[in-house]
């Protein structure tokens, strides 16, 4: 064990145990389904409003648009979002598809919409762009929440480690 790990453990942050615990709770089938759904929703949304988006996004910005590299970043971001969404859903005590959607909307309203609103307003970007991008995330998060909630309810996808060791559980106070 490294000195850093020992130090963190004395602070009540047993990171390896916490990470193992979180990894054990991941329903990989649900995460994959949520990723695919989020990607499809995003693709359909920008196909519908793509022309408006391009007109707004390229106002004073060069090099905008869809590239494979950006799609990969988008996919990674959505996996992270799915994991966090599942974690917060558990914490809030919501279950099922509607529970997932409820959690998604709360997080969207509290953190995604607010971030986009402030940043875009400060940058002098158009209201239309803020609307398009924030609705995109609302749709993506709604799809993710519905899928994670449904999978948990249906019990599809077997967690790697259903029951974490007691030591790991006791340190999992945050997140």
């Amino acid at each position: 064990m490294t000195a850093l790990e020992a130090k963190l453990k004395t602070m009540g942050l047993d990171l390896p145990a916490q990470l193992a615990h979180y990894a054990g709770q991941i329903n990989s089938t649900a995460v994959l389904a949520a990723l695919v759904a989020g990607w499809i929703v995003g693709w359909v949304w920008y196909a519908l409003v793509g022309d408006v988006w391009a007109g707004e996004a390229t106002t004073g910005v060069k090099g905008s648009g869809f590239t494979p590299r950006r799609q990969i970043f988008g996919g990674i971001a959505q996996v992270i979002m799915t994991l966090m969404l599942g974690s917060f859903m558990t914490r809030l005590g919501y279950t099922g598809a509607f529970g997932g959607i409820h959690t998604a909307w709360l997080l969207w309203f509290g953190f995604v919409m607010t971030t986009i609103l402030v940043n875009y307003a400060n940058l002098g970007k158009r209201v239309g762009l803020a609307l398009i991008d924030s609705v995109h995330w609302l749709l993506v998060l709604t799809a993710m929440g519905a899928i994670i909630g449904s999978f948990n309810q249906w019990g599809i996808g077997v967690p790697v480690q259903a029951n974490a060791p007691a030591a790991a559980v006791t340190t999992t106070t945050g997140g």
Binding site: K62, G63, F73, L92, T114, T115, I116
Partner: protein, 139 residues
Amino acid sequence: MTFAGINHLAVLIAAIVSWIFGSAWYGVLGAQWAEALGKTKEQLMPGGRPATAMMIVSFVAELVMAEMLAGLIGHLGVGQFTVKNAVISALFVWFGFVLTVLVVNHGFQGEKRALTLIDGGHWLGVIVLQALVLGWFGV
């Protein structure tokens, strides 16, 4: 799990503190921020400060953020509303829903990486400060 509750005075103070931090952040990094956008500081902040409407939008948004953060921390249960738990929750929210959104939106819009760093750093400071205030006050 029993909901610990929300201290609305702490939420208000957290919003004020984070708003002041935001003003200081963009005040100090104004030149770099403008450069990342390909504009001048004067273009973005005529008269040396942001428009009043923008300052109001920022404050209201940060008030909503603080309220939601307090709600999330409160769901950890009675006796769990501590500074440590608040900061851990804040870091998860920032990583999961703020940084991801910024990276993707800025990326697709072709914005410079410096802009993502400056804006992402701002939100990290905002949310951690809010967590410190909320955790310090408790419920």
